[in-house]
């Protein structure tokens, strides 16, 4: 207690913060305690009571066996890996061109990305669906990949901020050495964008992992489930068995929550640098 000055506003502050934390943690708490209960125990105990043992993994095993969750994790990982590689490539390329060169159509290109964000993507799915089908990507992992790889305006703004901080002298001295512009992109700009890329990888991974709509609509095939669609199917089949569903929810929440606690600094950075300014 460095300064134990007891002030009224201080009490209010902590009180409201604690309420906030309680509200945030209450639903996950309920899911955690019930995921470890056997069906009998679940039926006889209060939904807020602690389980007899936190070592009862039967529900989790059942989820893996019945739900095909492993397959779902596999599919979503493939989608994330391929998407990230292409998305980062395209994102840095667009940002390099917009950040380093001036040309007539530059405002048009930037404007096109800007306007794209106000088009509600769910509503254009009606037409996108036809395109995906005609490309032969319906019910393949290619469908979500092509829909995710495009750079968005927030990504471009994020990269542009970093590019502006890379001194142009660096490019110029490379040019004096006779380096081509492509070489400048590859050996100077791209590596110096790594911090932004790292942040993007985290944010993009979380958003693809959490997306429900695109996999639901474009990959209804059983074997192509990702974690979200598998959870939806699983809930549909086991709708009464809340202890099992809680285990499934927990298994799906866990990876991102762990990632979050390790990388929260970069996540905050990415969220704020995209949105503020």
């Amino acid at each position: 207690m460095a300064h134990s000055k007891f002030s009224f506003t201080g009490v209010i502050k902590y009180f409201t913060l604690l309420i906030g934390v309680f509200v945030v943690l209450f639903p996950p708490y309920v899911v955690i305690v019930n995921a470890f209960k056997s069906t009998d125990e679940f039926n006889s105990s209060s939904s807020m009571a602690l389980p007899n043992s936190f070592l009862n993994f039967d529900n989790f095993i059942a989820v893996f066996q019945r739900g095909g969750l492993l397959n779902g994790f596999g599919n979503v990982l493939i989608i994330i890996a391929i998407t990230l590689i292409l998305n980062i490539l395209f994102g840095t390329m667009v940002a390099f061109v917009l950040g380093r060169f001036s040309f007539k159509l530059k405002p048009v290109v930037f404007g096109a990305y800007l306007i794209a964000t106000i088009i509600p993507s769910i509503t254009t799915q009606v037409a996108t669906f036809g395109i995906i089908k005609s490309m032969g990507l319906y019910n393949t992992l290619g469908a979500p990949i092509v829909l995710y790889i495009g750079a968005d305006v927030i990504q471009i703004i994020l990269y542009l901020q970093f590019i502006r901080n890379i001194p142009v002298d660096l490019d110029e001295s490379a040019m004096v050495e006779g380096a081509s512009l492509f070489r400048i992109y590859r050996t100077i700009i791209f590596p110096l964008l790594t911090p932004a890329t790292a942040t993007l990888i985290i944010l993009k991974t979380i958003s693809i992992y959490n997306d429900m709509y695109i996999p639901y609509l474009y990959m209804p095939k059983q074997s192509l489930g990702v974690v979200t669609t598998i959870l939806m199917r699983f809930q549909g089949v086991n709708s009464g068995e809340w202890n099992l569903i809680c285990a499934a929810i927990l298994l799906i929440l866990l990876p991102t929550v762990i990632l979050y606690f390790f990388l929260q600094r970069y996540i905050f950075e990415g969220v704020t640098s995209g949105a503020v300014k």
Binding site: S47, A116, I122, T124, A127, I245, T256, F268, T272, V276
Partner: protein, 297 residues
């Protein structure tokens, strides 16, 4: 070989080759569908037959004449109301967490936590929390003595279901808004506060005259996202209630998706989408108007 070209030529090649694929993607998956959508909205295409009969403005007339379609917008209102409340709470917590406080970081990390959680998992989690008989919300209310409230069917009562669903959105996104507000607070230079302190400003004066005006652009941005988010709600009711009970929680986008994919009425669904797009643009325009009148910010 490439390196021997003049930098001007290289520049042209780089611009063209670096932009081709990204712009092609943007055109294929954003602009082309949007244009297609406009075209479909003038037909009564069913989604699969080869011919797309032109019907002119009939679909638009139908949307405006059919009260059942527009009525669902009233369901979206709950999300709008909750969104406003969410922003107020987020600003409050942002200001609190930007002041001198122990454990600031821990609070910030915990309050942001829901944002990174999987939406479908969160929806089911709340499905369980809101459950009438097994649900932990009612159990909790009973345990603190609010037995009257503890019998409520949160997702089964018509007037309530949208607020229950919207509160799930509140739970998920409050921390996101808060973090953005914190960032905008940290961008306010400290000497303004010091100067106002010297001038004898109280805490509320500081809040009204310095903090909030300086946050204005970010508040505007978040309000835009709140309004458009409220117009475009889809996943929560889709996953949790399937629009029930008796269509009481059906949202506009859900109706669009159903009209297209369940009733095979692509033409009408497209017209509904275009109308939604118009609303979004109108919100944006109003905001720009208000923004530009509010000074040179």
């Amino acid at each position: 070989m490439f390196g021997t070209l003049s930098y001007n030529k290289q520049k042209t090649i780089i611009i063209v080759s670096f932009l081709t694929i990204p712009l092609l993607l943007l055109a294929t998956f954003t602009y082309y569908p949007a244009l297609k959508l406009i075209y479909y909205s003038f037909t009564n295409w069913d989604g699969y037959s080869p011919e797309k009969p032109w019907v002119g403005l009939d679909n638009y007339r139908e949307v405006f004449a059919n009260p059942a379609i527009f009525k669902v917008f009233t369901h979206n209102f709950a999300y709008f109301a909750m969104g406003i409340l969410q922003n107020i709470v987020a600003i409050y917590f942002a200001i609190v967490l930007n002041s001198k406080l122990k454990g600031k970081n821990a609070f910030r990390i915990l309050l942001f936590l829901p944002y990174i959680m999987n939406g479908v998992a969160v929806a089911f989690m709340f499905g369980y929390v809101f459950d009438t008989t097994n649900g932990s919300l009612n159990m909790f209310l009973n345990s603190i003595g609010l037995t009257g409230l503890g019998q409520t069917s949160w997702l089964g009562t018509e007037g309530l279901v949208n607020y229950s669903l919207a509160s799930t959105g509140f739970w998920r996104f409050m921390g996101y808004n808060m973090v953005i507000y914190i960032a905008s607070l940290q961008a306010i230079p400290n000497d303004i506060y010091e100067a106002s302190k010297i001038d004898g400003a109280g805490p509320f004066q500081t809040l009204w005259r310095i903090t909030l005006p300086n946050m204005k652009p970010v508040i505007q941005l978040n309000l835009f996202l709140t309004v458009t988010g409220a117009l475009e709600v889809f996943d929560l009711p889709f996953v949790l209630t399937k629009g029930g009970p008796a269509g009481a929680s059906e949202t506009y986008v859900q109706k669009v998706v159903d009209t297209a994919f369940a009733y095979n009425n692509y033409g009408l669904a497209s017209a509904m989408s275009i109308i939604l797009l118009f609303f979004v643009v109108i919100v944006l325009l109003i905001q720009q108007l208000v923004l530009s009148r509010g000074g040179d910010k």
